[in-house]
Structures are given as structure tokens and as C-alpha cells.
Symmetry: C3
Amino acid sequence: MKRILIQLDTDSQASSFDAVTAIDAGVDHLLSYSQINPSNIVPLVQGAIFTRGSKELKNTAIFVGGSNVEAGEKVLAKVQESFFGSMRVSVMMDSNGCNTTAAAAVYYAKKQLDLSQSRAVVLGGTGPVGRRSAHILGSLGAEVVVVSRSLSKAEHVCSLIDDTTGRFTAAEIPAQGKIGSLLEGADLVIAAGAAGVQFATLDELSACESLKVVIDLNAVPPLGIGGIQSTDKANQIGSLICYGALGVGGLKMKIHHHLIEQLFESNDQVFDTSQIYNAALNMG
Amino acid sequence: MKRILIQLDTDSQASSFDAVTAIDAGVDHLLSYSQINPSNIVPLVQGAIFTRGSKELKNTAIFVGGSNVEAGEKVLAKVQESFFGSMRVSVMMDSNGCNTTAAAAVYYAKKQLDLSQSRAVVLGGTGPVGRRSAHILGSLGAEVVVVSRSLSKAEHVCSLIDDTTGRFTAAEIPAQGKIGSLLEGADLVIAAGAAGVQFATLDELSACESLKVVIDLNAVPPLGIGGIQSTDKANQIGSLICYGALGVGGLKMKIHHHLIEQLFESNDQVFDTSQIYNAALNMG
Amino acid sequence: MKRILIQLDTDSQASSFDAVTAIDAGVDHLLSYSQINPSNIVPLVQGAIFTRGSKELKNTAIFVGGSNVEAGEKVLAKVQESFFGSMRVSVMMDSNGCNTTAAAAVYYAKKQLDLSQSRAVVLGGTGPVGRRSAHILGSLGAEVVVVSRSLSKAEHVCSLIDDTTGRFTAAEIPAQGKIGSLLEGADLVIAAGAAGVQFATLDELSACESLKVVIDLNAVPPLGIGGIQSTDKANQIGSLICYGALGVGGLKMKIHHHLIEQLFESNDQVFDTSQIYNAALNMG
């Protein structure tokens, strides 16, 4: 029986990245849907659960994607609400690569640091990957500074992740773009901003004596941290251990491929942030 | 040569049900188009008929679907108008599963009853499956009551099917939702309403002494007839022989798969209500 | 590794012609995107270049299509701008079959005529195939009259192709539709108008003594030149050597299939008008 992945994408054009990755993970047929929101998915989910017998249902799965994480979360919730009893298929949520990229980035940070004793600064912390990186770091006991151009956006993201642990602090990028003041006591910087936004240079980051690890997740020049190469992978540059987007990207792709394959092992799995980070731990 | 099915769907999202079913019927490549109407299909049909040689053309076919049967009928007509000479491909119309589901339902009704001597009440008779069930029942000589919340809609559907035989009567659901008065003399009830609409309970239906067979085509709880299980298949419950959506659905899927396969036997077939019911007779 | 073609189509429905042709050329998975313009393709291109390793990248390619050639040209330019370094995939542009059809038509004209010494009249010269035919004919040294119902459109197309060589003349269809006056000294007529537009009959064309070759690229009756059969292929009719759409179409399809296959030979090719005409020369 053919493996069918139903790609539910919240953008006006379904992600080609997610499509190619699904095919490379062995999906036989990809059914791509764009402009997805909670109000138009019920018939698509019913088409998934009513077309194959219960023993064959594991050969159909759903992938939720798109550039907007909050939209993806709502779609994931509605997909799960549309299941009933054993009438369900496995589903993975990875809007904009948020979960797989964050999982890979935090995996590498954890190789270098005791995260439960670390302070992490996430630049571009309100974007898809930034907020998921903050989420995972916090779940491992780190103190996390979520940095955005907009303080209110940063505060909103902190409140969405968790507003009880006290581990999350919102911060905005200072007026002149000098982020040095945000780094005090930081062990880790993750740059997860939009393509083309450079937050700082390695020289500027080196002024922070506590800083040990820098991870830049932008693959399109100019990169997020000037002086990092996208291929850096645990490269020592001065006092800093550096990772670039392609250095992290190998593991990200491995996780992504693996989890798409895993979707077809049974019809009752949900892969969101914590499950995807756990997969990274087993694969790194 | 690869088997290509061109899915022309009148909805804003092409049906995933039809897509999965096509793949399971052996289609190699599915080309799905949504938001289809008579004004945008000509280039799509030309792309079907001008790309392969005349001997290979049977490997391309068209499927017309979507939730709106009238829109699907118009698309089917325009598809056929766009063919000329031997430049054509086979085409199947099954908007919202109307034809395959109705064919399976009537097949089972016919196993239990002499339909030419029967009176049938179709609840939700203006929906896709309801109107096709009424159509087939009438063509077999049954008297059919088409029931809707709106009398004018029911009358419209009766006029669309046939307004010369006198076999079709329109009726609206009574004010308190008590449908008992509609059942007088009925041998068969088919419930083909929207998901989540419960028309009556088996207890209420049992009050009708003439009634022998009840078929509920809704698979999503709450079902259309309270007390029926979706898996019922010729189950005797009190005086009634009962079928649920999954009980009928096995044959529906078998017909659907079979006809998709048959599309690729030659390039000049049209599968609409009567052809699809005939396929059910051969397969049940 | 699976061959993936990303179809970027500027129309509201992606071309089924291009889709079927891609599949017949051996593409394993087709990812079709409609409503494409320069502002929405960057993420789609990034999804193409960031998902596979550099040695595997040749297994992904991009096809630019749609009915509007100018829109396709802008998309092609933006696709190429979105590549950087070795992060690129091969791309082919053939909006409305403009390049493959024009290449095949001019290939056959060149078999019959010394194009560098010829005068060509392109009817429907502002359409996709017309303007590309004019472009190739001019590049081979022919004098070309670009004919349209609108003189200003014809002038615009001439200026787009080249306004320095003096080889291109714009002309409008005379008031009574009598095109005889446009043919003076012409060796070649190519009819590349919209389906259903008949420009002239073979009888009318025969009145032009210099005329030797007539190519009609319309496959849907009524054809562009009355008296030509769509299957004509170098048929002598009176004094004229005639080609119809299907007569030219065999080579067009062969070129189209071949170039789709060629896309997957390396990740750095661009197939536009000149490359596609060169392929025709090698294949005819």
C-alpha cells in the first residue's frame, strides 16, 4: 500500500522544502494543500481517515506546515479534534522547520553546555525557530532571553511558552542595534532571525566573557552573525564554539526525514516540539 | 506509460478522499485542481488530450468531484464539450461520492426489496448522495419522497431528476422534526443528510409498520438515525433491516476503486449515475 | 534519488499539458504551483536548493510555465536571482509552449528555406509562440513581420525582441481581415494565433507568388489557415509546402520531453529560447 502524506500548509503556496523532504523520506504520494486554516481542514481530515481500512490507516499521515507557527498550532489542534476513536492518522507539525531546526540547534548546544545551568539568548526569538528553541531550552532548565525588535512580541512569545517558571525573559534589540547589553552572563547565543538580518558580528559577541557557544541558523547571506560560515560545525573561532545553518542543517534534515518515516509506523502518533526534540537526542 | 488522473474539483480544496481513493486504485500520478468551474477547464482538458498519442490516450483520465453536485454536473458537461473526434479521455463524475455511495445504498436496498413495488423516503434528499439515491430509486420504478428542511429545495431536486414520471414527491421536515407523518406506506428510508444532523431514532421509525429497510449514510457521530451503528450491514434490529455508513461503505469503496481502474481501459468512457449503478450491480 | 520537477506556473491553474509532459519525460514527483509571480517564488526556490546535498541537487529542477510569456520571463529572472554560488538547480522556461513550439516550427521552416535570405510573416505574432518564432527567425537572419490585431501590441513585441537590427516590422491585420497586402515578398507564413481565429485560407495565401512555406500552429478547429490539416507535415498543396499543428507537434513534444530529461543532468542549466532552438537542431 502506497504511503500518502497530506501536507496541510497555512501559506498561500505550500512549502516546497517540506514537499522535497517528504519525498526524500520515502513518501509515495504527496497531497499538498495550501491556504489551510482550522475552518477548511475537516473534510481533508475525513478524507484521510475514511478511505482506508483500520489496518492500512498507518499508510496515510498528515504534515502541518507553513511559515506561521501560531497558525500551524491551531491547525494541529483542529486536526486532532477531527479524529475520533481509532479513526485517526499520525500527524507531524513543523511550521517553517520550527521544531526540527530548533531540536537540532539545542542538541548541539547541549553537547557543549550543561543547559540546566546555562543562560541562553535567542535572537529573533519570536520567529518560528526562535520560539521553539526557547521552548526546548526552557524545558531543559535553561534561563532564556527571548529577543525581538518588538518588546511586546517578545513578551507575547514568553507568555505563550510558559509564564509560570520564570525562566523566560523578553528583551528588545537596543536602539543602535548593539546587543552587547543583552548578553551579560550568557553562555549561548542562538540567532534565528529572518533571512538578511544581521544581528551582530563574532567580534562583538567575543566581548562577552561568559559566552561559549554561538549558533546561527540563517543560511542565506548575509548571515545572522557576521564572521560565522554557514558550514561551521563546532568550529572554535577565538573563544567561541560556532555553528552555522548548514552545520546544524545536516542533523535537522536527518531528524525531519526520520520522523516522516516514523509517521507511517502507526496511525496514532503526534510529533510536536517535545517528541521532535526527543528524536534529535536519539539521532545526533 | 504512467496512468495519470486529472482531478477536477469544484471546491476550494480538492477532495483528499477522492485523491487517496485514486491512488489506491492504481493511479500513478494524480494532478489535482481545485476551484474548477466550466470557465477554467478548457485548457486543462486540452492539456489532457494533446499530450499523448491516440493509442496512449487511455492512460490519461479525468475525475470530476467536489461537494456541489450541480457544479460537478456543469463541469462534466463542459469537459465533454471540450473533446472532439477521437481527442478525448475517459471521465468519471462523483461529486461528494454522490454516485458511488448512492449506487451502493440502492444496491443493498434492492437486495431486500422489490424496488419497483416500493416507496422510499430519502432524508437529506437534496444533498449530493440523497438526490442521486432518489434518481436511481426512481429509475428502478420506486416511488420516492425527497425530504429536505426546505420544501422548495426538495421540489427543485425533484424537477431536476424528472418531472414527468410522477414518481417523485417533495416534502419538508415537519416543524417539530417529527418525521413519522412522512413515512406512511414507506418500505425504505435512506438518511443522506449532512454530518451531525440526526433525523430520527430507530424507535421512531419502528412506529411505521410498512417500513422494512433503513440505511443511514452518515459516518460521523451523531449518526443520521439514532440507534444505528455505522458498521451495521443488514443487521435486524426489531422489525427493521439496518445498514450504516461503513456497512455500505465497503461496497462504495469497491465500486469507486473499480471504476477508477476501468477509466484506463479506453479513452471514450463516461461514468455518471447510471453507469456507476450498473457497476454496483456487477460487483455487490 | 527521485527526480522532482517544481512547476512554477503564472496562471490560476497550473498547466496540465506541462504536467503530463513532465511525467512522460520521467519526472518521479511533480510539485505544481499556480498563481506564481516574482513576489512569491523565493521560498519555493529556497525549498529547492536547501533540501538536497550538492551532489544530489541535479535531481531537483524547475519548470516555468503559464499562458503569459512576459510573466514567465519575470519569474525566470527572479528564479535565477534567488540562486547563489552552487546553490542552484536547472531551470526551463516554456510558457504556453512558446519555446518548444517555436523551435519546432522554425526547425521545419529552416528545412525548406534559407532563413537568412527569407522574409517571414508571423500571424498572431504577439502571442506566446508567435513572439518566440519571430525571435528565433530574426536570430537566424530573417526579416520578420510581426502581425497582430493591434499595431501597438505588435510594435511592443518587436521592441522587446530587438530594436537594433531593423529585422522586425510590426503590422496590424487590415480592416476587412484581408492579409494579402502583408505578404508581399514573403517566403514563409507562420500562423500562431489563439484557438478559433482563422486568419486566411490557403487559396488566399496562394495569391502571393513568393510564398513557399505555410505553418499553422493551431490544433483546435477552426484552424488558423483554412485548408490546412492539423496533421500536414511538409505536404505540398498547390505551390505551398504546408505544416499543421500536429505535423509540427511531434517534434515539439520530442524537444519538450528531451529537455525535461536534460534538466536532471546537472544543476546549473538554463533552457530558454536559444538553448531550446539549439536542441531542436540536434533532434529534428
